[in-house]
Amino acid sequence: MTRWLVRVAVSTAVVAGIYGIGAGVEATMIEYVQRIVLIAGINVILAVGLGLINGTTGQFSIGHAGFMAIGAYTAAFTGVQLAPALSGLAGAGALSEAVTFNLALLAGAVMAGVAGLLVGIPSLRLKGDYLAIVTLGFGEIIRLLFNNTQALGAATGYFGNDPSGLPPYTSFFWVYLWVVVIVLVIRNITFSQTGRSLTAIREDEIAAEAMATPTTRLKVTAFSISAATAGIAGGLFAHMQSGIRPEDFKFEKSIDMIVMIIIGGLGSITGAIIGGIFLAVTLELMRDLQEWRLILYALLLVVIMIVRPQGLLGTRELSLAMFARKKAPSKP
């Protein structure tokens, strides 16, 4: 009973803390910096989610922008449809907005997760790198699909029914609340028995199978969860601006995500967090070098793979204990 109380207290404190920091950020920072802070949070969700499949499980997805797109479009569309009904029910206000927004995000996550299942089942049944090629094709096809769907604005993008565009629900509070939730969920999966099975699949799939690990089921599950987190990130991204365009989810976006987790280290959650923040900041700094940006990223990918293939942190996690004892704690 007391443990339960402690948990409630800690959760409340965390939520209040995020709210407080959010209020501080919104009061002190200019809008431009605030935007970078929000993008950093969305990047962290993307990187941590992608890390589960690319890092921990060792199955390479290179089309996660497609799942982000599904999440973004679903959330935007659901939000626009739900808003009038809910504000009629609970009155227009912060509460009905919050409920609408989170229901929309969840709808996006579910759709992206289902799409992950559909892509994952045929490609993850097999050993080898089929997931890479299937997700590459999938990412492009999804973009073409949104490009040709008139109901969702086709190539001009989806801006909702309101002339001012999609409602700007995304705030510091919601982004970082979702960051905390998703990091916790992924952390709990990674350090559970399931997580160990996923690592076993990465290290040696045949041996894992011999140890009675249901490899296909676990790979598909991990991939689907990873796709769902990308869907949430997409929903947050959609409500940050007045509208979403298919070109927001090009192949480059998937590459951005891969760069995030490779900079941080494949298979490290704290590494993915660092990579996500790093990318949000460097992307802004490199805004003037448009055509050089991808060249630099590509070089970075190749050089890191040759010089330090495990990424900056490898599979290690950064923790406070590490600094206290000057020694990395062994992975639990």
Partner: protein, 305 residues
């Protein structure tokens, strides 16, 4: 009926280009078990090499004065492009893949994606992102067979591709180099024990596959009239699907897969809707992964720990 024959002819011509590219994917996969994503950019560079070689040889002046490009110069263009791409392919292997020969499976895959991105974006920088009109190495001549239009370009594409594939068949099955390549793809360590230098053999595999992709690039330019630095992405993806369809690692399979992909793409474009021509390849990939992941001509190899 004549429309059907027309689509089949167009499909076979397009498919033979895919087949040439697919051969490079399948050969590299055979020896290294690696999806060489950079192959699609080798194809693109091949097309551009042909473009610059033809321009250097004065094709524009000839074209404006209404003369056609001499056949021996067209052959020079083809050979130059094949040499440039072969060098590029070997360089990529030497710089990016060889240091990772013993790394975990995922590492070279990420490197391959990185190389592909790097080359594509360097291409945008050097060749500019604007589409270029491909020089008319061949002047189009139309033959009309009772409603079915066959151009000499389609015929040349098919003939050149077939000639190169027959050449490859002889190389792989009738020469010592080919024997070494087959040995390395079966078992690298055993091949080394038999006195084969795996690094040299892998280098040659990349050179041959890349040269074929360059030929594919020139034929693609002739067929589609314009080229741009991102042309490799979608074409490369389709060629890879062709390799999987035929059985990855299987050389005749890649040729067959390429022709089938070209045919189905053209038939879908002609009978259903041109909007779905790219989607059909993807659908084929999913279906083949569900029904017969080893491909049409592939054999199931038991995996050992």
């Amino acid at each position: 009926m004549s429309q059907f024959i027309q689509q089949v002819i167009n499909g076979l011509s397009l498919g033979s280009i895919y087949a040439l590219i697919a051969l490079g994917y399948t050969m590299v996969y055979g020896v290294l078990k690696l999806i060489n994503f950079a192959h699609s950019e080798v194809f693109m560079v091949g097309a551009y090499s042909g473009f610059y070689a033809a321009t250097f040889l004065g094709i524009d002046a000839l074209d404006q004065s209404g003369q056609s490009f001499p056949l021996y110069l067209a052959l020079v263009v083809l050979i130059v492009a094949m040499l440039v791409s072969a060098t590029l392919g070997m360089t990529i292997e030497r710089l990016a893949y060889r240091p990772l020969r013993n790394a975990p499976r995922l590492t070279p895959l990420i490197t391959a994606i990185g190389m592909s991105l790097l080359l594509q974006n360097l291409g945008m920088l050097i060749f500019t992102p604007n589409p270029r009109r491909y020089p008319p190495i061949l002047r189009e001549v139309r033959f009309d067979f009772g409603g079915v239009i066959v151009t000499n370009i389609k015929l040349t594409i098919f003939a050149v591709a077939m000639a190169l594939m027959v050449g490859l068949w002889f190389l792989v099955n009738r020469t010592w180099t080919g024997r070494a390549m087959r040995a390395v793809s079966m078992n690298l360590d055993a091949a080394r024990l038999m006195g084969i230098d795996p690094d040299r053999t892998i280098g040659k595999t990349f050179a041959i596959g890349s040269a074929l992709a360059a030929a594919g690039g020139i034929l693609f330019g002739l067929d589609q009239i314009t080229i741009n630095p991102t042309m490799g992405t979608l074409t490369g993806l389709k060629a890879f699907v062709a390799a999987v369809l035929g059985g990855i690692g299987n050389i005749p399979g890649a040729a067959l897969g390429g022709l089938l992909i070209g045919l189905s793409e053209q038939l879908v474009a002609g009978y259903i809707s041109p909007d779905y021509r790219d989607a059909i390849t993807f659908l084929i990939l999913i279906v083949i992964l569900i029904l017969r992941p080893e491909g049409i001509l592939g054999v199931v190899r038991q995996e050992k720990v």
